[in-house]
């Protein structure tokens, strides 16, 4: 369970990125966070595994106060939280399997860490993770020979191999084409259902958010302005989240229409 209580995050330059955030996310939820760029979506996500530190309030992950963690205990917390990035963040020069195996590194004895030797058990676990995202046959291919969608799946497999309780995904599909993006979202949905992992996802595509997530959180200038089931979202709430009082109206209207058509077609 992730619990935000009046969380505040102020950057050293004085920018208030998160303000009075109160949020409770149960194990196994699939949460999409939507909002304009710069609204604080990314910051919200990164506070959870202390990639960013909060400056006020309290944040508890599975009853651990994140704010008080230091050094080794932060790393232990992160072991239980997977994170996926927009740019995949893989080592492109080595094989897919080696990238996935990296997630076992912090738990290995020092000598194996230095020599880079993995046990058969670890390899088997990594291969299982690859099988879960459907790219088992690519295990010994170098990452730079894969497509963007396949690379994001490698990143997903790396996170799965960690066997986390929570997966944080920061714009995971923003640099993928629409078809691949949908496939990756399907993977997330399946993992969420089958393994009961909590998934929190930052996403620009409102249509995808509404289709796959069970809960949607709207963020606007560092505050939560919407929190509810995906089905509760309507044009009015969307336009409120996207703050479209001025010239941006056209763009958001378009995104919204697309979202609603999408929703209807799926339903």
């Amino acid at each position: 369970m992730i619990e935000f209580k009046e969380v505040e995050k102020r950057y050293p330059n004085g920018l208030l990125a998160l303000n009075q955030i109160n949020l409770q996310i149960e194990q196994g939820e699939f949460v999409a966070i939507i909002g304009l760029s710069g609204a604080g979506k990314s910051t919200l996500l990164r506070c959870i595994n202390k990639m960013h530190d909060i400056t006020g309030g309290s944040l508890r992950v599975n009853d651990v106060n994140v704010h008080q963690l230091k050094g080794k205990s932060i790393r232990n917390l992160r072991r239980n939280i997977g994170m996926i990035f927009q740019s995949f963040n893989l080592v492109t020069r080595v094989t897919v399997l080696k990238n996935v195996l990296v997630s076992f590194v912090p738990n290995m004895p020092v000598w194996r860490k230095i020599l880079g030797i993995f046990t058969e058990e670890e390899k088997r676990k990594a291969l299982m993770a690859l099988d879960q995202v459907g790219i088992l046959d690519k295990a010994y291919v170098r990452v730079d020979q894969l497509s963007g969608g396949q690379q994001q799946r490698v990143a997903l497999a790396r996170t799965l191999a960690q066997n986390p309780q929570i997966i944080l995904a920061d714009e995971p599909v923003a640099s993928l084409d629409p078809v691949t993006a949908k496939q990756v979202m399907e993977d997330f949905k399946r993992i969420n259902r089958e393994l009961n992992m909590t998934i929190m996802i930052n996403i620009h595509h409102v249509d995808l958010a509404l289709t796959y997530a069970t809960r949607v959180i709207g963020v606007r200038s560092g505050e939560i302005v919407f929190d509810g089931r995906a089905s509760e979202i309507n044009e009015e709430t969307l336009s409120f989240i996207y703050n479209n009082t001025n010239q941006e109206r056209g763009v958001t209207d378009y995104a919204m229409e697309a979202a609603i058509t999408e929703k209807n077609s799926i339903a």
Partner: protein, 271 residues
């Protein structure tokens, strides 16, 4: 046994799927490297002991070079200019001659496989011979002096620029060239208007880069009597007047630094 070691290993997943694990060659590579290092140490008589105990001897000469003999400076200008001239003439002439050689060696322009093969072979043969050895041979033929050094640099430049150039020509976009040939241009005309614009920036940049390196090489050619500042270097080293050596090296470092900076600036503009 050997084959068994290299054949893929089978990993069975809990869900019954099988994956063939590719064997890594890294342990073998490391083993070979270690054996080579061991053999090389035996052959060359490398000894860390000697190195650690006597390394201060290395700095003895270095200390004697400081401070450099400034009075020697006036004698250095002429040989220094000779060195620059040698590398300049050799580089320019070599780069110009490399162009036809590269065209002959490029299989997409020269349709005759035999000519292309022979040109390529000549280029790699020329590149194999160290410049200093060519300079040495040249001193026997052209006598002592700058001519021998110029010839050595000229030949090296042909080989170096020629090789990089023909690789580029073989990789250019051939469509424009074919279009021009179909318009009735001759091979040379089509080359001039379709291929040359594509390779020109790279060609000039490679030649400049080669010139940079040639200045360095030219500075030691005098060692075998092929003219330039190397002659004085050899002399000063022979007489153990290390303050003079220091002056020569200081001059060289400054010159090379200047030429490198200028040429790097020009190469950036070309790209």
């Amino acid at each position: 046994m050997q084959w068994k070691l290299l054949s893929p290993k089978k990993i069975v997943l809990p869900n019954g799927k099988e994956v063939l694990e590719k064997r890594s060659f890294m342990p073998v590579v490391w083993l070979i490297l270690l054996v080579f290092i061991f053999l090389s140490i035996r052959i060359t008589g490398f000894s860390l002991d000697v190195l650690v105990n006597r390394i201060e001897q290395f700095f003895v000469i270095l200390q004697q070079m400081m401070p450099p003999n400034w009075a020697y400076l006036s004698k250095l200008w002429q040989p220094l200019f000779d060195t620059i001239k040698m590398s300049l003439f050799g580089s320019v002439a070599g780069a110009i001659c490399a162009l036809p050689m590269a065209v002959l060696a490029a299989t997409n322009i020269t349709k005759n496989k035999g000519i292309a093969m022979v040109s390529k072979f000549i280029l790699s043969l020329l590149r194999t011979l160290p410049t200093l050895i060519i300079a040495l041979i040249a001193t026997f033929i052209f006598g002592l002096g700058t001519m021998a050094g110029t010839v050595a640099i000229f030949l090296f430049t042909i080989a170096y620029v020629g090789k990089l150039l023909y690789e580029q020509i073989e990789n250019v976009n051939m469509e424009a060239y074919e279009a021009m040939q179909s318009m009735g241009l001759t091979t040379i005309q089509a080359f001039r208007y379709a291929i040359l614009p594509q390779i020109l920036p790279n060609y000039l940049s490679t030649s400049l880069f080669c010139f940079e390196g040639n200045v360095r090489y030219a500075s030691i050619l005098g060692y075998v009597g092929a003219g330039g500042i190397g002659l004085l270097l050899n002399e000063s080293l022979g007489w153990r007047s290390y303050a003079n050596v220091g002056m020569i090296l200081l001059m060289l470092v400054c010159t090379v630094f200047l030429i490198e900076t200028t040429s790097e600036y020009c190469r950036k503009k070309l790209m």
